[in-house]
Structure formats: C-alpha cells, structure tokens
Subunit: 160 residues, 4 copies
C-alpha cells in the first residue's frame, strides 16, 4: 500500500519516468535533473544552477533554459502517452535567469493518439523568489505504449 | 596585412565574435564550440560530439541541438548587428544526430534595426557524410552597436 | 462619468483599440471581429463562424484560427504597449473548430520596451460549450507610444 | 499521352491536390488560390491581392500571409504524403506585403511516416519585383494514403 503523496512523485508511473531519464541520458545526469512534481498531464522538474551553466554576468545560458523546456515538455507528454520523442518546440526568453535553482512546469494541452501538445514555463528561483524566465509550446510525438497509469490519471483535455 | 581567406574567419569582425564567445560563456567553453565559417549574414559553427552530450543509443541530446541552433542564430545575427540576444526560436528535430561532429549554419533572412530573423540548419557528420538533423527559425534582438564590419559585409537582405 | 464595467470594454484605451481595428483593416471588418473583454494585458475577441470561413465538414479554416491568434496577441500587446506589429507567432492546432462562435484570449507574459510576449488560446463555442481548438505563443514588436491607460492598468508581469 | 510540363501542374497528383482544395474549402475559394508549381516535395501557390485582404496602407493583412504559409506547407506535405492536416506552424513577418500578387513556396525538409516538416517562404510581387515578406516552419501530420505519385516523385530528403 502506498501513502498518498500530493506531488505524485512516488507513483509507479513517475518512478518509471525518473528511471528512464536517469539511465537514458548522460546529458540529463550532467544536468542533475530532479523530478519536483508528477501527475498525469502536469510535471515539474528542477536543477541547481551551477557556474558551468552560465554566461557572462552569471545568468543561465539559453541552452540550459532550452533543455528544461524541452525536457519538461517531453516528461509531461510521457506522463500521459508513455514513450515519446520531441518533434518540435518554440521558446521565448522573457527575463535573465539568475538564482540558485531553475525549474520548469509542463502542462498537457491536448493528448492525441500520435502527438501531445504541451505548454511549458521556466522559472528561476533566487533567494526564494520565482521569476518567469521563459515560455514554450511543444509538440511531442508518441512512439510507444502509455505508462502504467490509472484511468483517472488521464489528462482532462484528452479527446478520443 | 591580412591574407584573403574565403572562410572569413580571419576578419576582424569574426575575431571579435569568437573572443566574445570564448570569454563570455562557461557553457560555450564546455561545449567546445568552434567557428567554421564567417561572413556577414552567414555563420557556421561546429562541436565534437562527446559521450556526455548523448542520450541512450549514442545520439546527441536535444539540448545540444538546441544549443547549436540558438548559438549559430545569435552569431549570424551578430555578424550584421553586433551585440544581440536571442528573443525566441522554434526548432524541429528531423533525424537522430549521430556522428563525430555536429555543425550548424545560420543565415540572416532579414536584418532590421531592432531585430534580425535567422534561419538555421543543424547537421551531424558521421564518417564524412552530413545528415540534416534539425531546422530552426529564430528572432534575435539587437541590443547594441554593430560589429566592426566593412560596408560590403552587410547582409544582402538588409532593408533600410 | 463612466460606469465601472468589469469587461473593461468601455474604457478609453479599449475604445481607442477598437476604433483603430475598425478603421484600419478591411480584412478585420470582413471577419466581423468584436471585442469581448478588455483589460491591460488581457484581451478577448470573438467572431461569428460563417460558412465562407469553413473547410469541408463545416469546421473553421486554419487561416481563421491563425487570424484570431495573431489578432488577439497584437491587441493584448497593444493594451499595454500602444502601437504594435506582430513580429512572429507559433500556433498549434488542437481540435477541429466547429460551432457558432470562435473566440480567443491573449495574455501578456512579458512587456519589455521593444517587444511584448503574448500567450493566446482559441476556443470554439458550440451549443454553449467551449472547446480549446488552438494555442499560440507570439512576439509582438512595440512601434510607438503606449495607449492612454491609467498606471494601475499595466500588466503585472511588466519589468522596468 | 501527356506533354512534359516543367511546372508539374498537369500531373495526376497535382490535379488531385487542386481538386481537393477547390472542392474542400469555401475559404480557399474566397482566397482565389492558384497552383503555380508542383513537384513532389516542392509546391508553389499564388493569389491576387485584393482590397478586402488589406490593412491600412494597402499591405496584406497578416492573416493572408498566414493562410499562404499554412496552405503551401500543407500542399507541399500532401505532394509526398497524401492526406494531411497542419499540426502547427511558426511564422516570422519580414517586410510589408504590398503588390499585385502574393505567392508562397513550400519545401519538404523531412517526410516521415507520421509527420512532414516543411519550410515555407512567402513573397509579394509588385511591378514584377519579388520581396520576401515572411518565413515559416511547419509540422504537417499525415492522416491517410499517399497521392498517386510515381516512385521517382518522392522527396529527396525522405528517410526510410
């Protein structure tokens, strides 16, 4: 029996997802990506902002922001569609990303049979204050079987 | 006296650009980015694909592709507009990126006073064969003074 | 003296915006665009879905959806930045757009001096039920003076 | 027996495509869209710029540009993949669109089983001079059977 966990991180589906990410990607490990929140259709991840991820003036390099937007979009899609691959994304930079931690939230807008559309936001946390530093819109292609999710975990926007 | 160089890499403007990149960004250094071709409005960069840049199966992580598309777009814009910052980009992944080297070409489509629109392509080179692995379209904001370029170096698409 | 109006449509700024749209564009008139909600940083517009706006099977043509996303993004940006022009947008189609009315909401994510980033959603209303049919992310360039808005009308995300 | 036609417009596949467009969409008819060039993986369309398609100052409304980019992307994808639907596109406006004619070219970058990625350019022709007025990058979903094309008609970039 599992204890209810509002973050959803202890669910079987979330554990599958984390394990895939950890095993699968040397770059994801280099980034030190952590799962922060997990429910079907809504996922949050975070990283510590290290000095080798920065540009001049100490703000995060755009590629780190791009990594977070892309990854959280793929993981949010995976939370409803299982094996996925990013088809495309579009990313707007909104403010310099400074702070100790960067985190991102991905929300599924539409989960079809072949593709999942995800909206993502990236935040920087400095001295406990969040700043929205980027916004993205992504198309994630479904390439396999759904995760082990209960029926009630499906995204509300999913159409047959 | 400088010897003519078709790559343009020995031009003063290209040297300025390389120096800014090298000094400015810990992440750019981690990537090991090299300038491969430089002319006003058209820039190419390349990196060696290392194992800590890969996903499972040895292909480059999407964030590495995103880095190349973003960076080459910014550098192509900088070649006509000087100090710039990426406002937004959109990136389509086209094929798995496997090989020894990844490179990207950015071409200026339109250079206005406030923003430069750049089209970028990312290629993977494996055993001497190039594969187009991603295509991007980017908006780069101009934030300062133009580089030290001769009049004939301006992009052909530039409108007054 | 004006009576308070939660929709904000009776404000001077909204009236300016409507007048500009009505005078400025033959195509906007052909569309029959109406302002549905107006506050600084958040605007909604709507149109009646006519038969000459449809594809086979009676759903709205993609260009009508594109028009709504583009227009509501520009108007939301104008609500905080005055004269604007769309620099670029990205649009995901999520579901067929069927019904009597189509409407769109634009929300300012970031209003800088030179550009405003807007997130837009497009809905179709059929028999009183709304369906999210498209999502967009747009960059709108500021080209002139702000509208006649009171200080408290500024978008909450606006940074100095 | 058919006479060779460099435009490719007399091919069976092109005729199928034109007929679908003409029958299928009231809006396409309102636009008066003509096929200008057709080969597998590369399609051009054009329209006459009428006064009811303009903004103030006589330039084409952004929605007309969006229509052309979206439509030519879908038709270019259809030329290699048959029945298709636009999943998403991103569009940068580059210059005011003035003139007698607007035309657009779509080129397939990658044709996979489920989706086709297309790059599109939109031009305005005024007094015989072409101006590049917009650039787009689109993802088109394949939803049915390929057109009646000969094997040699496949797009060169198509991967197995």
């Amino acid at each position: 029996m599992t204890t209810p966990d509002p973050s959803g991180i202890h669910s079987i589906a979330a554990q599958e997802l984390m394990q895939r990410g950890a095993e699968g990607s040397a770059f994801t490990q280099w980034m030190g990506t952590r799962l922060r929140h997990f429910e079907a259709g809504r996922v949050e991840i975070e990283i510590d902002l290290r000095s080798n991820m920065t540009q001049h003036h100490g703000q995060a390099h755009g590629a780190i922001i791009g990594y977070l937007a892309d990854t959280v979009s793929a993981w949010a899609a995976a939370s409803v569609a299982g094996d996925v691959v990013t088809a495309e994304y579009k990313l707007n930079f909104l403010a310099p990303a400074r702070g100790e931690t960067l985190w991102a939230r991905g929300e599924v807008l539409r989960a079809g049979k072949r593709q999942v559309v995800v909206r993502a936001d990236v935040y920087a946390t400095q001295h406990g204050t969040d700043t929205l530093v980027a916004a993205a819109l992504a198309t994630i292609a479904s390439v396999g079987q759904p995760l082990n999710t209960a029926p009630e975990d499906r995204a509300p926007q999913e159409n047959p």
